[in-house]
């Protein structure tokens, strides 16, 4: 994921050229795997980079395909590379104009789970960010309605974190049908 590994002969993808020209300070790493450009950007500039990718007329990544996160707490290689940031928020983008994909990854430390919401750029980000909040506890700042979406409202914990056990923490055993407010 570093510049030294880049093969010299291949032309640099347009998205990388433009990002290096305009947002060089935001880039932590970049890579190209199987036709998809992957860029890792600083959290502080994440919104600006995503806005740029969407609005730039030559790039036009107008379609936010997916927002999700990965808990890297058991992935030593990723942890070492990005300053022991536990979470990686992942945005999948697609450009209808250029018919190409891009992946933007943003490292998020457990001590500060806030990250700017992109709901103002894409309407579809609303539920995707809610799900990421529900499953990982990432706090999307500026989100209009950051509630749980798949888990019940009174659920405690975030199930897709690696420290959450597969079979739960006894929620099933403790569930009391009589006390449920219907």
């Amino acid at each position: 994921m570093s510049e030294e590994n880049q093969v010299e002969e291949q032309p640099k993808p347009l998205i990388l050229q433009k990002l290096e020209a305009n947002h060089a300070d935001a880039l932590l790493a970049h890579d190209e795997t199987r036709g998809t450009v992957v860029v890792v950007v600083r959290k502080e500039q994440a919104y600006a980079v995503l806005e740029y990718l969407k609005t730039d007329p030559e790039l036009a990544y107008t379609f936010l395909v997916d927002v999700t996160a990965v808990d890297n707490s058991q992935m030593e290689s990723e942890l070492m590379q990005f300053d022991y940031a536990r979470f990686m928020v992942v945005y999948q983008l697609y450009s209808y104009q250029g018919q190409c994909r891009a992946r933007v990854k943003v490292p998020v430390h457990e001590s500060d789970l806030n990250i700017p919401s992109v709901t103002s750029l894409w309407q579809g980000a609303n539920w995707l960010e809610r799900e990421t909040y529900d499953m990982f506890g990432i706090n999307f700042e500026g989100h209009p309605d950051l509630r749980r979406i798949l888990m019940p409202d009174d659920f405690e914990g975030h199930p897709l974190r690696k420290d959450y056990p597969l079979r739960g923490r006894g929620e099933r055993e403790r569930f009391n049908f009589d006390k449920q407010n219907v």
Binding site: V65, D66, Q74, M75, R101, G124, W127
Partner: protein
């Protein structure tokens, strides 16, 4: 869509639509705020069918997880099987045999037909057209017989394997499929005569639940719902996977992005799928359906049960730490499922189980856009719009 608000009385009523409602086809819930018969606000709720598929993916090995993919979009499990193994294979950097690719296209297109047929039947039934339901289920039943003979199951097909498919097509499969695609356009014409120029059907769907192309992209709509707005985008064309570049087909588009256009787009897609199926059968290559790589492919069942070498081979593949182990890395693979873009984002830590599997379901984003299509309309349109989106609870909640 218009006309409801003018007769507003100023009194609000909250209507709970679902999770147990005949028109929700699964456990969906929408809370509607009504003024008279017009919808002021719609709030969709998801999560009733949440089963933790993504968490399960971190605990099952790559072949075991195929069983879980059956249960996502339970109307076209073969498409899910296909999309998932394709993601794993691309992560492994392998390409399956030509025959296998063709068989997968064949099954994916047949399951697109089955999915669209079920959608057609139930969407029409919701609006009171009972005959269409019977006609489409009659055709769908023929497809399910083919699926059952090919995969051994009607619903939980689990047909694909990493590096191949569970087994080759059965003897006589080609005749069965050919017979189906020969008769199907005629059967679909019956539905056209029942619905396409039907005054009631047009009144109930034209202009209902309309969305513009820009809004559809912003909301992340894909598949027939996006194409109904006029965006001619199909992943099978834009990023051809698994030999889709070797078949010719058209991408039907609509203009208004309303429920009627979604209906027309799906109807035409069924005809196009029949064309793809015919081409696939005409050019079906011979050879093995499985990759000849014993570190990836499961042995033949008769081998595993009948010979000690086969048994050892089987054991080595399924034993933790010996089977399919993609290198450290990540991959996002999108396929055109009947509902839209079905994506699998897999992060591998080099072991036999995925470090993280993210499923990007089309229905999740379609259901999110529902308020945009409903608000300002009439309460009876709710059923028409929800039907036209084809939200599948299994893939919505995963």
């Amino acid at each position: 869509m218009q006309g409801g608000l003018e007769r507003a009385t100023g009194e609000k009523m909250v209507l709970n639509f679902g999770p147990q409602h005949p028109a929700t086809h699964g456990t969906l819930r929408i809370v509607l705020e009504l003024d008279g018969e017009s919808v002021l606000k719609a709030t969709p709720h998801a999560g009733y069918l949440h089963t933790g598929f993504e968490k399960l993916g971190e605990h099952l090995d790559y072949n075991q997880y195929i069983v879980v993919t059956d249960r996502m979009n339970y109307l076209s499990p073969l498409s899910n099987n296909f999309g998932y193994v394709l993601a794993v294979e691309q992560l492994l950097g392998i390409e399956v045999t030509k025959r296998c690719q063709y068989i997968r296209i064949l099954m994916a297109e047949l399951s697109r037909l089955a999915d669209h047929l079920l959608w057609l039947g139930t969407a029409a039934l919701d609006l009171g057209a009972f005959s269409v339901f019977l006609y489409s289920f009659r055709e769908r039943e023929k497809l399910y017989s083919i699926f059952e003979k090919t995969t051994g199951a009607r619903l939980t097909t689990s047909y694909t394997r990493v590096g191949g498919v569970f087994r080759d097509l059965y003897d006589g499969c080609e005749e069965d499929v050919r017979q189906f695609v020969t008769n199907f356009p005629k059967a679909l014409k019956e539905t056209h005569t029942l619905l396409t120029k039907n005054r009631i059907w047009m009144d109930r769907t034209k202009g209902v639940g309309a969305i513009s192309a820009d809004d559809a992209i912003s909301y992340g709509l894909t598949g027939p719902c996006l194409r109904a707005t006029g965006v001619a985008h199909d992943i099978r064309k834009a990023e051809p996977y698994s030999s889709y570049d070797e078949v010719t087909f058209d991408v039907p588009v609509g203009t208004n992005g309303d429920a009627y256009d979604r209906y027309l787009v799906r109807m035409e897609e069924m005809i196009q799928s029949c064309g793809i199926v015919t081409q696939v059968l005409d050019n079906m290559p011979d050879g093995s359906v499985n990759l000849e790589d014993n570190k990836i492919t499961m042995p033949d069942k008769s081998d595993a049960y009948g010979h000690i070498e086969g048994l050892i081979h089987h054991f080595k593949i399924v034993m933790d730490g010996h089977g399919v182990q993609p290198p450290i890395g990540e991959h996002y693979c999108a396929t055109e499922s009947p509902n839209g873009e079905l994506g699998f984002y897999i992060v591998s830590d080099g072991s036999g189980t995925a470090y993280r599997i993210r499923i990007r379901p089309p229905s999740f984003l379609h259901f999110q856009a529902l308020p945009h299509m409903l608000e300002g309309g009439m309460v009876s349109d709710t059923v028409a719009v929800l039907g036209s989106l084809n939200v599948i609870a299994g893939e919505l909640d995963r």
